[in-house]
Amino acid sequence: MELMGLLDIATKEQQSRPPHQIRCCTAAGCLSAGSAAVLDRLRGAIQDAGLNERVRVAAVGCMRLCCQGPLVQVDPSDELYQQVTPDHAVSIVAGFNGGKVTAQRGNPNSPFFALQASVILQNSGRIEPERIETYIAAEGYQALYHVLHNRTPAQVIDEITRSGLRGRGGAAYPTGVKWATVAKNPGERKYVVCNADEGDPGAFMNRSVLESDPHRVLEGMAIAGYAIGANQGYIYVRGEYPLAVERLQTAIGQARNLGLLGSKVFATPFDFRIDLRTGAGAFVCGEETALMASIMGQRGTPTPRPPYPAEHGLWGMPTLLNNVETFANVPGILRHGADWFAGIGTEKSKGTKVFCLTGKVVNTGLVEVPLGTPLRRIVEDIGGGAPGGGTIKAVQTGGPSGGCIPAELFDTLVDYESLARLGSIMGSGGMIVLDQSNNMVDVARFFMQFCMDESCGKCIPCRAGTVQLYGLLTRILEGKAGEEDMRQLEALCDMVKHTSLCGLGQAAPNPTLSTLRYFRHEYEALLKPGSPAQRMGLPLVTAIAGNGT
């Protein structure tokens, strides 16, 4: 494949398009609301109405407003329809022949859409994830071609470094620095790994990107492979994302058939192969050392760092591990330049970030905004505030590793440093809106239970400490706890945070600590009245003293 071949595919795709296009969302959210039947009826109705020459139906990815699915949008009029049923679908088609459209109209210019950015999700809901031609028609794989022919690996790394891109998986490590480290570490082979083991409750950013625009991630990985000198990439997808796995497999096959992956990519000496590895349902496998163990066929448990994967990764070789969204940013940076990317966001947090807005808010779904957007704009303008005139109390960010930000602090800008100062984290991008009906102790206990159940069992503070923390939070919720339990809760949070082996255990106390910080009164209101409860355990001294043999 040469550049001409790529442009040919793009031109052919554009020319074959009829004047009208009906886009129907086929990402997991809308599919679960019945969009497969809608898609079928749309296609059938076009056929029946003899509109094949004028209208085409495209099975696209996520259109963001998941709560109103199934979503259907018409090009070029931009008419948006929501909660579309198969019968509504027929009426949308009838509309082309002057019939009455009964489907519920959405507003594509509402604040939910108007205040959002389109960098990572640029193609999401516009191209067909199962047809590589539509990605190529959207300038796809041109960045890879350009990089392989006109840039040295060092220049690519420099571009990424200057863009200011930071890891989107939660740790926010500068991506350029990571790439340079892996590139400089000696090793007979190197690997690129894409972490798609998205496991936070309420987070589905990676799933949406993979289901809607899989080639963007493949292209980003191939560029990374060229930059660091790797010929093999792995995508570690959680097993609970069968649709993402299926679409990735299709995408990898299509890219290989066109010579965009595999040996001699774009007829250059660069070989790059991508294989999928699916997880088996362990949250801890999103932790990089556990993820690598799982790829190598071992039990998915973390190992202490250092050594870091950049030095000692898969099979002992230097390994680059980035999140789906990090890779998805790469083609854009190479296409438009580091300065373009660095122009979005704040001084230290560049670019955009995709969030999953869920919970007690009117508009739930996928939200992409520039970093540095005030939290209030996301929750109240884009999210539309609390449904039914309720009062929003807080937003939980960063899942089981993050914390709760109270409504008084909604003017905070959403960037890495600001959220960290508030005792939360941006994490991978989950945002769960909580209102007056949510008891914060209960919220803390929910996340503690999650961490307790997902602990891999390797280190004692995480395995046994989370069990005790869960027990303490339960005692508080049941009104059986006293001051002493509160003290023990805080001491144990501190201990688990500082002694656990991996990020899962180290961050497990965060939801509890942050609710203690901002909603302590809710804990205290649940404490037992009267004198502090002193709990006595069994006196172990006697057991040890009975030592004589």
């Binding site: 362990a282 801890v284 039990r299 448990t301 190992t303 202490p304 250092p306 307790m452 159940d453 997902e454 602990s455 891999c456 069992g457 390797k458 280190c459 004692i460 503070p461 395995r463 046994a464 400490g465 989370t466 069990v467 005790q468 027990g471 023990q488 001491a491 144990l492 201990m495 500082h498 002694t499 656990s500 082996l501 709990r535 006595m536 355990g537 069994l538 006196p539 172990l540 001294v541 006697t542 057991a543 040890i544 009975g546 030592n547 043999t549």
Partner: protein, 238 residues
Amino acid sequence: MSVVTLTINGQLVSARASDTILLAAREAGIAIPTLCYLDGLSAHGGCRVCLVEIADSPRLQPACFMKVSEGMDVRTDTDRLREYRRMIVELLFAEGNHICSVCVANGSCELQDMAIAVGMDHERFEYMYPRREVDLSHDRFGIDHNRCILCTRCVRACDELEGAHTWDVAGRSSATKVITDLSQPWGESETCTSCGKCFMACPTGAIFRKGDTVAETDHDLKQLAFLVNAREKKQWNV
């Protein structure tokens, strides 16, 4: 091999650059407590009692894993570390069913020794009283999961010293347990060579020799160290 100089508890120590903090400290006569670490086996990093403070490092690091470096300033026995260690031991006692007075390893148990060393005089956490199994299907040995602290020393000894890899870990969170083969009864294991290295490596009374009395229980860790020494350094003298 290059040599570095570091400070451990204010004492200047020289160490090989490839050494861990644990080895360097030990050679200098500074004891760092361990539970899952065992000489001759690969490091595990799970028990967290060997965590040390390193100046200018935000995180505590396991001494069994962390390599020394030039100018490193290590603290192994601060108030904070002592409190964490005690909490770890208390968490272990609360997690399993450790009743010293009826245990065959009473008096030769590293968990018991550790409890005394960290000054644990009572349990501050709630006892979980888990329902766990006892497997007596093997001719010569038994395993009482009630006493298992999941240090995985048996797993590593079986894999790395005996080469049988009969033991492994299954499950997660509080359901984590060591298993033989594919979670079959130990007596039905086709890979077990009945060598007894898992028994030697076990820090508690979880793996025991059938028929042993309390007085006869001796984990004989020296035997494992002897084997490793003999293999790696070709030194046969004890």
